[in-house]
């Protein structure tokens, strides 16, 4: 059964010309993450208590989905398939449903990323203030090379994101949870040194 003979880049259908829609450069999506060690549950002890506290703040368990996913990502750095299964279980949802939600929101990682995750805004207000130069400097200084790739030493992953809501302080970046304003190419290496 043939797949599709797309028009236009048909030969490229399976190769470089293809794209899964407009792939955002270096999105932290795509690809199945793999867990090699047996899966250890996230929701026990303190985190389970936190989840149970969340249940009191919303009338449905389903509404606790986004907060629960944040708890998983805080614990493990990313959200794996078994973790999706666990979240589904504790919230009485199906894994498919949870996965549909996880893939909608760009801040949830579905595969492991570097120890430090860097998001740089390149939308127009920052773009006209040199954001792309900051992005290039970050890719160079971290050793990542490409957006979405993790540096060889596992230290950094850099992605390009949309407006971070600090347009007057161009160019802002997020390193993990640290929101750093006014980044220029010159400041990049100094900033990176703070993150081992």
């Amino acid at each position: 059964m043939s797949a599709t003979a797309g028009q236009g880049g048909s030969g490229a259908g399976a190769a470089a010309g293809a794209h899964r829609g407009m792939s955002e450069h270096g999105s932290a999506h795509g690809g199945k993450g793999t867990e090699t060690a047996p899966y250890e549950r996230v929701f026990k002890g303190e985190r389970l208590a936190r989840l149970e506290w969340l249940f009191t703040k919303y009338p449905t368990k389903q509404a606790c989905l986004l907060p629960a996913l944040w708890l998983v990502q805080e614990a493990r750095g990313w959200i794996s398939e078994p973790a999706i299964g666990e979240v589904a279980e504790v919230l009485d949802l199906t894994p498919a449903y949870v996965k549909g939600v996880v893939t909608f929101y760009t801040m949830y990682h579905t595969h492991p990323v570097g120890r430090h995750f860097i998001q740089v805004c390149t939308t127009s207000p920052c773009n006209i203030c040199g954001a792309e130069d900051v992005m290039k400097a970050l890719l160079r200084e971290t050793g990542c090379g490409d957006l979405g790739a993790t540096s060889p030493d596992g230290r950094f992953t850099v992605i390009e994101v949309e407006c971070l809501g600090a347009c007057g302080f161009a160019t802002p970046i997020l390193v993990d949870d640290d929101f750093i304003e006014g980044v220029t190419p010159e400041k990049v290496s100094g900033i990176l040194q703070r993150y081992q």
């Binding site: 829609g21 407009m22 955002e24 703040k57 919303y58 009338p59 449905t60 389903q62 509404a63 606790c64 989905l65 986004l66 907060p67 996913l69 944040w70 919230l91 549909g100 939600v101 909608f104 929101y105 760009t106 801040m107 949830y108 998001q119 390149t122 939308t123 127009s124 207000p125 773009n127 006209i128 203030c129 994101v161 949309e162 407006c163 971070l164 809501g165 600090a166 347009c167 007057g168 302080f169 161009a170 997020l174 949870d177 640290d178 929101f179």
Partner: protein, 435 residues
């Protein structure tokens, strides 16, 4: 104040008076600065009286739509046993806009007070503040403020001993511009994909969890305590041009400007004064080329239009654009308009939720066409194609994200056609590698 710059005399610092003042963040610091008096005051009034005051003030939604706030609150049904909800929209993701972040990180208690007053007025006991996931510092600051306010009795089961219950819950977003659309936000809080809903039913009838809900922007709610304390008439009086636009507006000025920041101006202030006086004008040797006044989802204004424009809802409409969220992106003559329009189209294509055909496919296709133009492969037919697509993407979808993608394209071709022509005719070097 034009935070982070010193306040300019032509500003009218109401919400921004304490930007940059770390003490204002604390409960005591805020009370010292007059905070929570408004809440105490309204707890002795009826909700109807509070709504009347807001109606008198002429306060309009500051998130972009400009819908009269008092009217919005009055659309909530009378008490019928169903829980009412207040949702505070702190998802600020409109390119060019960065005011709500400042309100949250400098005057968190001001926002909480506004939320509490609004919740009381609409009969809600629970208020969810939806903070975008990237706002890590504002989240921490707001979290701290909620804890403090609850510990000190301003929020909780018995707000200031009134017997009324007002609970504020912070809900963290996870990276989706579309969740700033009010019904998408409701879906996101409910633990779903952030898809906008069809209206009707309107949130006031069936909103969060199917219950009557009001959604207000951060800036709108932050203005509420001031209206309550100083009176609706006072707020109404803050109007330099059109009486339908009252109060002050935080304008987030960014881009090619000497002093980018948030400037609080009285409605009706001339844009020229903002750009040249308050913000210090262009960088040395540069001239103004274009202004996108309301966040990127509004038509681009030419320099001439901007310099003749008054900053209120009607004034900007008169010049062919919209005040929107007042995220003002200033572009000087070094700007490659085609490149920036492409970058904006790419933004919308990335953020489309995928429900409506026109948005899902149209935003991506327009982005691709603009890429080809920038790569030196543009054709004359692309003009008509872009305009056709923009027409298809306007007024035909569940929400206005696709209209927002069309706006810069249509206005860009209309006012900066020669820049497109330069790429198409090969007069300008391609800005992108061939795709």
């Amino acid at each position: 104040m034009g935070y982070p710059h010193p306040s300019h005399p032509k500003e009218n610092p109401v919400l921004s008076k304490h930007f940059g003042d770390p003490e204002a963040r604390t409960y005591d610091g805020w009370v010292k600065r007059g905070g929570y008096e408004g809440l105490k005051k309204i707890l002795r009034l009826t909700p109807e009286a509070v709504i009347e005051e807001i109606k008198t003030s002429g306060l309009r939604g500051r998130g972009g739509a400009g819908f009269p706030t008092g009217l919005k609150w009055s659309l909530m049904p009378k008490a019928d046993g169903r829980p009412h909800y207040l949702v505070c929209n702190a998802d600020e993701s409109e390119p060019g806009t960065f005011k709500d972040r400042e309100i949250m990180r400098w005057t968190p208690h001001g926002l909480l007070e506004g939320c509490a007053i609004a919740a009381y007025a609409i009969g809600a006991e629970r208020c969810y503040i939806y903070i975008r996931g990237e706002f890590t510092d504002p989240y921490k600051i707001m979290d701290q403020a909620v804890e403090e306010a609850t510990a000190r009795g301003a929020l909780g089961d018995n707000a200031f001993g009134s017997g009324k219950r007002i609970e504020v819950i912070l809900h963290r977003g996870a990276g989706a511009y579309i969740c700033g659309e009010e019904t998408a936000m409701l879906n996101s809080i409910e633990g779903k994909r952030g898809n906008p809903r069809i209206k009707p039913p309107y949130p006031a009838q069936a909103g969060l969890f199917g219950m009557p809900t009001t959604i207000n922007n951060v800036e709108t709610l932050a203005a509420v305590p001031h209206v309550v304390m100083r009176g609706g008439e006072w707020y109404k009086g803050l109007s330099l041009s059109n009486p339908k636009s009252t109060g002050t507006k935080l304008i987030s000025v960014c881009g090619h400007i000497q002093r980018p920041g948030n400037y609080e101006v009285t409605m009706g202030t001339p844009m020229k004064e903002l750009i040249y006086d308050m913000c210090g004008g262009m960088r040395p040797g540069r001239t103004l080329k274009a202004v996108i006044p309301g966040g990127s989802s509004v038509p681009i204004m030419s320099a001439a239009e901007a310099e003749d424009c008054l900053l209120d809802y009607e004034g900007v409409v008169a010049k062919g654009s919209m005040l929107g969220s007042a995220g003002m992106i200033v572009m000087d003559d070094t700007t490659d308009m085609v490149y920036q329009i492409w970058r904006l189209a790419r933004f919308y294509a990335h953020e489309s939720c995928a429900q409506c055909t026109q948005c899902r496919e149209g935003t991506a296709w327009t982005t691709r066409i603009l890429e080809r133009i920038l790569a030196g492969k543009g054709k004359q037919e692309h003009f008509q194609l872009l305009l056709d697509l923009s027409d298809n993407m306007t007024g035909k979808t569940i929400c206005v994200l696709s209209d927002s993608c069309a706006a810069p394209i249509v206005s860009g071709i209309q006012k900066f056609r020669q820049e497109f022509e330069a790429y198409i005719q090969g007069a300008r070097e391609p800005a992108l590698a061939a795709v």
